[in-house]
Symmetry: C2
């Protein structure tokens, strides 16, 4: 399916840079640019140039020279979209970018919608839907883990796993439907025991994919870690220590669902979002009480809780600390909790022994000297089940895929039950078709305009 209209958009980041790239795609992409391009090398038309070649020249609007540019020619079907594509590498001023785009808008192009280049790539069969979605994930990825997952998905790892299951299921569906044509003869083309075996295998794979979403989702969005502790116990020193240890990128991002500032630190290639809290120290102060309420809200949203205290405080605030700790444990029995005594460089061994005796799970830390920081990062990574990531298994990060997998799983269970209860072939076929439908939703064999609209609206313009 080659679209008739030619679209244009800036493909590089907005703003001024050394160069910018403007992309056109569509039947007329090459001829539209050719009409406004004067080569400085030869007089050959761009239309007669081979695909994947680059040409130096000027973009001109009648007599006016807009810029000296490099034009890259990609010919249908050997391009990102599968259509004729031109990429113009121009000087990176906003003014020039706009002048060139405006020129082509006046001369036969229209502005591309968000994600429209990738949508065309999908519609022209260059990518399946889950691969197209991975393009957006790849651009959004900001650490090794999320990048690796998106890359694997873009290269078709996920699609091929789904496609394999789908094909096997489809074979059985065809056999069972064939039986229906010979209903009065009571034949079984589809070997029921082999089929049961397949359904068990599909169930197993689906379950693994569905379970991987818990990991995938947090990896994609960063793992929220609430740090509970009073002021001055060394929360920011701890964050800096983690940062130095890993030489990773720190950014302060405004929490989207809360008013707190979060620090995102990449540890072992995985993004952790550290959420500072006000602590849970009980007072009669109304404002502080509100603070405690907020702290619990943040713990609710966190995947991991760090309870941090100043080792020296264990001398005179021992009972308060233990009460607070019990409170967290009682309220969140399932949530991974790391209890950390900070500033151990300032206290003596007797106190340390005492802390270790009374809080057996304690981790000793000196954020200042770096003692215990490595152990802490290891603990954080252990808490996240990154086994599947390390084993290069397919991980589901997309909630649309997750939903489709859950639905497919449900239908496969119906098939399984049907097989066990000896359900008739015609009813069995309906359940199998339903499961196939949900597989198809993931890779885009089954789709509709609303779904595509939703998916590509999240892309940037120019992609």
């Amino acid at each position: 399916m080659i679209h008739q209209d030619t679209i244009v958009a800036l493909a590089t980041a907005a703003g001024s840079g050394a160069i910018a790239v403007i992309r056109l795609s569509g039947t007329e992409a090459i001829s539209i640019v050719d009409a406004h391009f004067k080569s400085v090398v030869n007089s050959k038309s761009l239309i007669n140039q081979p695909t994947h070649t680059i040409h130096l020249g000027h973009i001109v609007d009648k007599t006016r020279v807009i810029d000296e540019v490099l034009v890259s020619v990609f010919k249908n079907p050997n391009s990102y979209t599968g259509e004729n594509v031109i990429e113009i590498s121009c000087h990176g001023s906003n003014y020039i970018q706009q002048e060139i785009i405006q020129l082509f808008l006046r001369n036969g192009c229209r502005m591309a919608n968000a994600g429209e280049f990738t949508l065309r790539a999908f519609l022209n069969g260059k990518l399946d839907l889950s691969q197209a979605e991975a393009v957006a994930d790849l651009i959004a990825s900001d650490n090794e883990a999320s990048h690796q997952i998106a890359m694997q998905q873009m290269r078709g790892g996920f699609s091929s796993e789904i496609a394999k299951l789908r094909e096997e299921l489809l074979n059985f569906a065809s056999l069972i439907e064939l039986e229906l044509d010979f209903a009065e003869e009571d034949v079984e083309f589809a070997d029921r025991s082999q089929f049961k075996e397949l359904v068990v295998r599909i169930t197993f794979v689906l379950k693994r994919l569905i379970d991987s979403f818990a990991v995938g989702n947090v990896i994609k969005n960063g793992i929220p870690v609430a740090i509970v502790g009073e002021p001055n116990v060394g929360k920011s020193t701890l964050l800096n220590a983690l940062l130095n240890e890993e030489r990773a990128i720190v950014s302060e991002i405004a929490g989207t669902t809360r008013d707190a500032i979060e620090d995102e630190i990449s540890i072992g290639g995985i993004g952790f979002r550290f959420i500072d809290t006000a602590g849970i120290r009980e007072t009669e102060d109304v404002v502080e009480t509100i603070g405690i309420k907020k702290t619990f809200e943040k713990i609710d949203q966190a995947q991991v809780v760090i309870y941090l205290f100043d080792a020296d405080d264990f001398k005179d605030q021992r009972s308060v600390l233990k009460v607070e700790l019990e409170k967290i444990k009682n309220k969140y029995p399932q949530k991974p909790l790391l209890v950390i005594a900070n500033k151990i460089d300032k206290v003596d061994d007797i106190l340390i022994s005492k802390i270790q005796t009374e809080i057996p799970e304690i981790k000793l830390l000196s954020a200042k000297t770096g003692f215990g920081v490595e152990q802490l990062t290891n603990s954080l990574l252990e808490l996240i089940n990154t086994g599947s990531l390390r084993n290069n298994e397919t991980i589901v990060t997309n909630s649309r895929h997750y939903d489709a997998l859950l639905k497919a799983f449900e239908e496969v269970q119906n098939v399984k039950n049907g097989l066990e209860t000896g359900l008739s072939g015609d009813l069995l076929a309906i359940d199998i078709r339903q499961a196939l439908y949900h597989f198809g939703e993931i890779t885009g064999e089954i789709t509709n305009d609303d779904l595509l609209g939703n998916i590509f609206a999240n892309f940037c313009i120019g992609k």
Copy 2:
């Protein structure tokens, strides 16, 4: 001069976009990328690919796939820098950009300095110095006029004009120096009357170029226009009216040398910076007095002054307005002044006649209805001597060029005086050599590391 080391930098604007371009230049550029590139099409090495071709594949670090990219190959000398150049078009996430750059930094590249690609282009003779400077101007240009000037300079318009003068002068210098070799024979190889003619011509051209700087400088930086008027006379409505008329870009930029907010509006392709002032109404209030002082400071910096008043106020504030107007005229007799009566839609014809009689130069305006806006924009453009811009003449915008031209002009005057007073050939030759030196400074025949350092430090990294 081909540099031995290979440099790498992000060439597109910083930030996340659909794609980003990473550029490498140097002897090893192609082989360094080749070692980390796996084509998806064939197994041919990038080294064996022809220049100006594009290759789809993966950037890999050992077994890890960093991204699917397009690699453009440019072979020495057919590249921007004149060296081997690779441009990698990758997915536009910050993470991927950094991973790819880091990969090459670990494998034989170093980070490019600001402007280093263009510096290499200059050192390798792909551009002269004034053309290289125009590249930075082009990227900074944000309206038609500054873009046109930079484009002309980058395409060599200015250089060729200077080079022509230089060559003619050089011919005479050679002839005069030849005379010195035959000093005892008292010959004149250089025809003195022809030489005088040349010097007059050079003087004329230099003067035009020097004069053009006044226009060039304001066009490059935007023409500052101070709007003097009391609150509520319609200053912001006027700016909006100018804006609508021209459908141009407005941006609020914080004044660099003052604390006021300025509106930049492109009128007829030329950037005007409108500077709001507090007016000059006399009061006994200390704060207002400070305001008046600031208004005069802003008028000092402006190229054009607009005195704006509410036509209706002419009824009861006639004398105040006229006193203010006289004050501006007396203080700035040379500065172009536009006197504008706004809101004429609200007053009757009798009052309008009265204003026109008492202030003959008055321009009538209704910013609200749009009456008089076009006349105002024409007046603004008339005040700027854009004749040379329209005639496509060379305009000097660079203060370094301006300085060199002034010095060359001075030396040429010395030559002229020398010719008139019959100065001996050896002394004449010294002055000519000096003039030639300053011409050479512009195009970069004469240069030094400090100068180059200063020029290219103003470039962005990646250019």
